[in-house]
Amino acid sequence: MPTIEEELRQTLTEASANAPTGGDRLAEVRQRIRRGNRMRLAGGALAGASALALAGLLAPSTLTGPDADHPTTVNVAAVTSASSGRALPDTYLGMPRVTAQRFSTGGKRTRIDFAPTGPNTAITIQCPTGTIAVAWLNGRLLAYGDCHRRGDTFGWTTISAPDAGALPAGKTVALEIAVLPASTQRTVAIVPDGLPTEKLRKEGHTRKQTITQYLATNPTSQVTWSTAIYSGTCKSTDCTTTKRTK
């Protein structure tokens, strides 16, 4: 009889054997690097023309490709990110921005209503280092994670797609976001409301409080964070979804 280690080796090998083929990963990586460079340039533009000129001078040392000279599509004039002061682009992955808002209170569910305008929606959240964001959509727990911005990417992004619970265009959605200290993850079970304690225990949650209980019993705090929501038709493979095989 094979040991669990042997079974595991075989399971891992088999489970990952059918990697999708096609697509040029190197080209995609290069494109992301260029996009990051452009975002950096755009961020630098806020600091003034001299900073932009300097960034331009530095650009040749980064990875460049055939379309590196294309003009940037990032609009730097509008909204800035809460955590970094950098500009939020007008479009993200080809989707126009639906709303962008900035807040100064953490530790509570803050509601933002918006209506998607297309099949894909990207919700982005920016918050300071050492905090996390928890998000609910129409009252149901959606996701949580780090939300501080790392260089070229938004702090926290979640993208809806047609085969993964997409939000219907035109229908108003209630998004709620709570920004909390990152240490909360270690002490609080971030789980949907109403799960029986027994089920939580079976799933390995040994923490004493759920997120709802935590928010109800802890005071709010001062923390600056922002959210930007983009909706439309995503024009990137970043929005590609997986077709389930079984």
Binding site: V29, G36, L63
Partner: protein, 168 residues
């Protein structure tokens, strides 16, 4: 230019395997591709500092990025309460089913323990190498491996099927 050539060669040589590892961590091919590309972009930014052996650095980014992305994407999957059918002992199809159960059980492990198992039993890395990637001690790798395997051995679905097959 040398950096660029080395990076290109590294991506071409290592990224297919990296994609499989990423998939085993996140269990979604689209997210795995995203994870690999994100790790490679971050690796490129530090390429000059990485040195001759980029693997530990890149895998560390991969594992850490996955940890920070937990539940990042929309959840379209609905869990089922129906238990899987028991399989007969010695049945080849049964063995495949058991591996499916093992795969499911792996998905129920905490991210850290799953990462340890993937690096140890898929990448076949030594305990010191896994410790280097995860930024922890060899002792932690050993204890996490042991805890993860123990959890899988007592996973209720695996236990149920094993008990059923013994009865057959």
């Amino acid at each position: 230019m040398r950096d660029r050539a080395e990076f290109t060669a590294y991506v071409e040589a290592r990224s297919p395997r990296m994609l499989r590892t990423a998939y085993l961590l996140c269990r979604d091919w689209a997210q795995a591709e995203d994870l690999v590309q994100t790790a490679l972009v971050r690796a490129w930014r530090a390429w000059r500092r990485i040195g001759d052996d980029p693997d530990p650095y890149v895998y560390r980014i991969l594992v850490n990025t996955h940890a920070s992305w937990w539940r990042r994407r929309w959840r379209g999957e609905v869990p089922t309460s129906a238990p899987p059918e028991a399989t007969a002992a010695g049945d080849a199809m049964g063995a495949a089913d058991n591996r499916a159960l093992l795969w499911e059980a792996l998905g129920r492990l905490p991210r850290g323990q799953r990462a340890v198992l993937v690096l140890r039993f898929f990448e076949d890395l030594s305990e010191p190498r896994v410790a280097e990637i995860l930024g922890c001690s060899v002792g932690t790798v050993k204890s996490q491996t042991s805890k993860a395997l123990a959890k899988m051995r007592v996973d209720p679905q695996i236990v149920a099927v094993t008990a059923e097959s013994r009865r057959v």
